[in-house]
Assembly symmetry: C2
Homo-oligomer: 132 residues x 2
């Protein structure tokens, strides 16, 4: 007892960093950061998420979301449109190029995840723990 590898927080931090680094490396070919990829994924769900919702889901400040969306919009991967029911909100719509890139990115993520030991049971456990 007492070693840092007994600490769940330590283990989660290490695993998250390793997983993130592997994903970033895999997405580098596509000129996509993990954040951009995850934001694209959220925008692609079709749910009417405000940028503030995205901020909460990605644990980021709303002002950071603005910048990431700027980057993706500048590259023509998504577009901001006004939500019809509440014109303060922006509805993020993936362009065809964005959808294609997201497909490629997903395939890459899946291949990198297969290299992570026990990824399937780990995912199940985390989903339960986080309430998804």
């Amino acid at each position: 007892m007492g070693a840092p590898q007994d600490s769940l927080t330590y283990l989660l931090l290490k695993a998250a960093k390793r997983s993130l680094a592997a994903l970033e490396a895999e997405l580098a070919d596509l000129d996509l950061t993990a954040r951009q990829y995850l934001l694209l994924t959220l925008a692609a769900t079709g749910k009417e998420l405000s940028q503030q919702d995205l901020a909460a889901k990605l644990d980021l400040d709303p002002t950071i979301i603005v910048k990431i969306v700027d980057q993706l919009e500048d590259r023509g991967l998504l577009e901001r449109t006004r939500a019809t029911d509440d014109r303060r909100r922006h509805q993020l719509i993936l362009t065809p190029a964005g959808k294609q890139l997201l497909r490629d990115a997903r395939a890459r993520e899946q291949s990198v995840e297969r290299t992570f030991p026990a990824s399937a049971s780990l995912r199940d456990l985390l989903r339960n723990a986080l309430g998804y």
Copy 2:
């Protein structure tokens, strides 16, 4: 398929952040950050770890380690002594106050981890995945 909660990286990041936040909150009473706590834990193992070793284990820059050790030393929780076999290296020794605080901190971490769903099996899985 395709939702962010399918992404192992996303799940690990969320879980790590949640776990870290809970730990920080629990350690706040002791005026200890999670980093300081984890460094103390590593220093307490008795292994002759250089500050560079600590940097690698904590995924931090060596210059960050200097500052954290400064903070802990200023509070009288540990002391830098020169390693006898290689006088370039610093051997970090916990003071009695440091040992006592570490005991308290560990107890707090254990209690907060018990609130994390399936923490035991999660820890086992992560240990295996990370090769500990």
